[in-house]
Symmetry: C2
Subunit: 317 residues, 2 copies
């Protein structure tokens, strides 16, 4: 296993990525507080570069490489925000990015990755085809593979969102982050624990992709078989590294069904007037379905991203 | 005609309304700046109380009344944001609000007004029926009628958004505000002119409701006959008071067609990750359709509101 990131590696990441990412604002809503019976602080990573916290980890990973290591570029496979984030990070550093995407990826995501100047290789939409295409690419180009979450520097970068949040709102009782592959939740947990071990860290996960919940129950990684959630950023499974960190530092994983995610997403759009993607609404969905458990608490929530498909909103009739 | 508000009445309004309204944030976007070739600063009144700048004017009007004047409550006719704003302002002051709404108003707007505790009287959806119902109401209740824009205190309140913007971004070249009845544009013009007469003030208006444009051309009020725009907040016509102020202080009214409004609205949602209603996108639509005119300028835009109908987005296929 790779080394475990620490509060120091997260602090170093914050310095390293500062010129290329936003210090995002924290939003509050009297109405949403009233509904939940708690005081909520939303860290708006939907307003981050590329529209998601993923810019933090990707920039940190790309800028952690030496001149020599990075000289042949960087590569990844992803159909989501990590692909755009890596393309953006490579553009910032002035090196090439190679992205393997399934040929059926949404046109808007292909355009975003291409817009940051990445070279896209299309493959069949299976895990095996992806990995083969990536292996091929790395062998032929010499590019460095940057995993979306099973990576020390990526996790350290993702932790900088919580580092900022703890500075912006110093006296939180609890911090919630969504969990897919676990990069954001791992970084969040390490940052929050490193700053104040008394603060509870809770992971929020769709019931339809509840591998983190089941893995923590079982004490070993149980990958999700057929994730079937609108929270497209949370369909991946924990890695060895993220499982270890989450198992050590996270108080609980709470799951929510699809209707709760849609209700939470709509509440954020309607009442807070900000655009978030389904994956970002899973934390609020946890609070909406467990109002009795956190009455009166000061709770931080990481709004992970804002890349919603405006032509296909989940509440569309 | 009523007296003309001044920078002093706007400053007094800012102090009066402070406990009840938000100092809204100013957003910027590197991507949108690149598209427009100018440096844009968006004053986010979509995040204001009740989701629109209207809270400022309504609160100022209600709190400007004496204890005796306000003792029988306040009243208005509106199917839009002013109705909710007046209901909110009355709730803040602890007095009754009476609102005349057309019976065919959207359920979500009826619910918003009722949610702030206002008493709603429904009427037929004609101007005559509205005014008769309001006259009746005022006669029977003794409530004070607060006009949505033809009102000294309302205009002074609306001007506080620009007062804040000029403080948040001190060196603007130009400020744009949308124009319907003209309350926001009048308040904006008076605030900006009062602080710095060198700053240009431009009104943004839908081509399909271009009474302000035509009135300024003609030198007299020419009401809009059949406004046919998705910018539902801008379907009203100038009043004597707002015409006078706009005619004195506004450099130009620029009109835009419906497709430009929809494009601008979508751009704000997609790139800035904030929810704005069609009326709020009209200012950016002006810039998108006139990129050559304002190259390199520092431009402030008032995002007037965020009460979009999430079930009926204008780009819905």
């Amino acid at each position: 296993m790779q080394p475990i990131p620490s509060i120091e590696s997260i602090r170093e990441a914050a310095v390293r990525i500062k010129p290329y990412v936003h210090r995002t604002p924290v939003f509050t809503s009297v109405i949403v507080n009233g509904i939940c019976g708690a005081e909520l602080f939303f860290k708006a990573e939907n307003m981050q570069k590329v529209g998601a916290f993923k810019a933090r980890g990707a920039v940190n990973a790309v800028f952690s490489l030496s001149e020599k290591e990075v000289s042949y570029g960087v590569a990844t496979h992803s159909s989501g925000n990590h692909a755009a984030a890596l393309a953006y990070a490579a553009q910032c550093r002035g090196v090439k990015a190679y992205v393997v995407m399934p040929e059926n990826a949404p046109a808007v995501k292909k355009a975003a990755v291409a817009g940051y100047g990445a070279e896209i290789t299309y493959c069949a939409p299976t895990q095996q085809a992806r990995e083969e295409a990536l292996d091929n690419l790395v062998r032929h180009t010499g590019a460095v593979f940057i995993h979306p979450y099973d990576n020390f520097n990526v996790i350290s970068g993702q932790g900088t969102a919580a580092l900022e949040l703890m500075d912006q709102v110093p006296d939180l009782d609890t911090v919630l982050a969504p969990v897919g592959g676990g990069g954001l939740l791992s970084g969040t947990a390490l940052a929050v624990f490193g700053l104040n071990p008394a603060v509870d860290i809770i992971g929020a996960e769709p019931l339809e992709a509840d591998d983190a919940f089941r893995s923590l129950q079982a004490g070993k990684i149980i990958p999700v078989e057929k994730p079937n959630t609108i929270a497209d950023g949370l369909r991946t499974s924990l890695s060895e590294l993220t499982f270890h960190i989450i198992n050590t530092h996270v108080a609980a994983i709470k799951t929510v069904d699809e209707s709760a995610i849609i209700e939470a997403m709509r509440l954020i759009w309607e009442r807070m007037k900000i655009v978030v993607e389904p994956s970002a609404a899973v934390t609020l969905a946890v609070l909406l379905t467990r109002r009795e458990e956190l009455q009166g608490f000061k709770i931080g929530l990481i709004l992970s991203g804002g890349n919603a498909d405006l032509d296909n909103l989940p509440w569309r009739k």
